[in-house]
């Protein structure tokens, strides 16, 4: 594997794998940075807080073997990256589906 960079490499892989959704399928997530921020920032704050509490309550722990050990705001750097990368990948997937499946109204006619 990638030693202490493993978790970060996984996050980079997520971004790499979903990049064609933006570039080929024209998901339009990275091209709408304000709308992207409006969706991702609140989710980042709430779930980073969840993570922060969960770590302090002992719900889960991080292996020093596969993580950099860098901490920001009391959380591993990797976790903060996770809460940006995963919602972003979810938006890219959703937008790719939107591009491929035309919306239909309640009568079933294309909108």
């Amino acid at each position: 594997m990638f030693g202490r960079a493993t978790y970060l490499v996984l996050m980079a892989a997520c971004l790499l794998v979903t990049l064609p959704l933006e570039l080929v399928l024209k998901a339009g997530v990275y091209r709408r940075p304000r709308r992207w921020l409006a969706a991702v920032v609140p989710v980042f704050l709430v779930f980073a807080l969840w993570d922060w509490v969960a770590v302090r309550r002992g719900h889960w722990t991080y292996s020093p073997r596969w993580t950099t050990g860098i901490e920001l705001l009391g959380l591993p750097l990797e976790e903060l990256v996770f809460f940006v990368v995963v919602p972003t990948c979810a938006l890219l997937t959703y937008q790719a589906v939107v591009r491929l499946m035309p919306a239909r109204d309640r009568r079933g006619a294309p909108r």
């Binding site: 709408r32 969706a39 969960a54 991080y62 292996s63 995963v86 589906v97 939107v98 499946m101």
Partner: protein, 103 residues
């Protein structure tokens, strides 16, 4: 005994559903595109969960979870992921409808 993560994950799922139904109201759960996207995301979530929890990069306190695991990860993670992904997509749709920008 029910662990704290079990309770937190259940609350997260309920909170995400209520946020969409009562506050954001984007019609997310009536849109088949959301469910298709969710199914695809769930497959990749299992993959990422596997990489995070099989080595393990992240370890769970067995007293905080129910016990059943999928791809090494506790089932609670599916609730955590659902809450995060659903809220993100709902906020994304909400921004479109308030600004009239379309999907």
């Amino acid at each position: 005994m029910t662990g704290e993560y079990t309770l937190a994950a259940a609350c997260g799922v309920i909170a995400a559903v209520l946020l969409e139904l009562l506050v954001l109201r984007t019609g997310l759960f009536r849109d088949p595109r959301y469910w298709v996207a969710l199914a695809i995301i769930a497959c990749f979530q299992l993959l990422v969960n596997g990489v995070l929890t099989c080595p393990p990069i992240v370890s769970y306190d067995p007293t905080q979870i129910l016990g059943p695991r999928i791809a090494c990860a506790p089932v609670e993670d599916l609730g955590f992921g659902f809450a995060m992904v659903t809220t993100t997509i709902a906020l994304w749709r909400r921004t479109a409808s308030t600004r009239g920008g379309g999907p």
